[in-house]
Symmetry: C2
Subunit: 192 residues, 2 copies
């Protein structure tokens, strides 16, 4: 659904504006209704259903859209050089994305299957995974825990930071530093 293939120009525009509105609305409130999203998009509720068969598919498309948008920002990160420094750079730019769309993710979790969400995240996750494996091969990162676990921990720490900011217990400027300091320490080999 929502294939922009043969659709007319104004239909494509509608789909784009709906998608964008869905991302923004769900990023504010994970329980945003279709009505609210339609209103935010400046579009009738029926129009939304004209492009997306149901709410779940809309949330799916919104998450995919947000991830796709984030990808370009992640592509600019220099992953060469010392794995530790590269990871720091990667964290700096990806953590903000996580923060922004954390509510959107929650929306997805309550409507989409875990497998589906995992599939949607495959792209970004693989990027981190590769870097971790390289750092591991160079002896900079620890070797006694699975890479999937380490990647997950990084994710989890970022989510925690987002929660803390959201609760006004952490200043947004400091988050990046905290996360990097924590994750790098967690990734370091046991004996050092």
């Amino acid at each position: 659904m929502a294939e922009t293939a043969g659709r007319r120009a104004d239909a494509q525009r509608s789909i784009a504006v709906i998608l964008q509105a869905a991302v923004e609305a769900l990023s504010r409130d994970p329980d945003a209704s279709v009505s609210e999203i339609a209103k935010a998009a400046g579009v009738g509720r029926v129009t939304v259903y004209g492009h997306f068969p149901n709410r779940a598919d809309l949330v799916d498309a919104a998450l995919a859209h947000a991830i796709e948008q984030g990808r370009s920002s992640l592509d600019e990160v220099d992953l060469a050089g010392d794995p530790g420094e590269a990871l720091t750079r990667l964290i700096d730019s990806s953590w903000q994305l996580v923060d922004r769309s954390r509510s959107l993710l929650q929306a997805a979790q309550s409507v989409l299957s875990p497998d589906r969400i995992r599939t949607l995240h495959a792209g970004p996750a693989e990027r981190v995974q590769k870097l971790v494996e390289r750092g591991r091969a160079e002896g900079v990162f620890r070797d006694d825990l699975p890479t999937e676990w380490l990647v997950g921990v990084m994710h989890s720490v970022m989510h925690h930071a987002a929660d803390e900011i959201n609760a006004a217990r952490l200043a947004p400027e400091e988050a990046g530093g905290y996360i990097a300091a924590t994750v790098l320490a967690a990734f370091r080999p046991p004996g050092s």
Copy 2:
């Protein structure tokens, strides 16, 4: 509400069984309805409303009950000796509690205010906080990040482990070791 004070004996029994059923039902499904909880408790739905004014109050009481139950289990942990080893012991016994009631927590998050949840968790959190501060004073734990942040990270890693187990990507037996290894590394002072 649900004060067991002057209530009759059978009423107290009802409240107890409802509370227990609520904890179990919400631990399976965070969106469990009042009907489901009542059925699980072997009690009429109206009876539930006779003791708890609304669903939110019931969830609140259920979370409080679960935390109180966990407290006794946490009380047995020996927090003396090397902070690192004490933390390992504390993680081992508390992480399972987090796992079991992770769905319940999600239920609470969608119905209770963040402040309220924080208040309910004050007891267990303080326990960890104290230990971290001691380890910090002894130079075993890092000093360059706020204790609240460190405690939060530990929480966050445990939640992540629970998610992984729940998704069948992590064996329950290994979780404890993974968590301890990760958290201890994250807590170690930067230069070592």
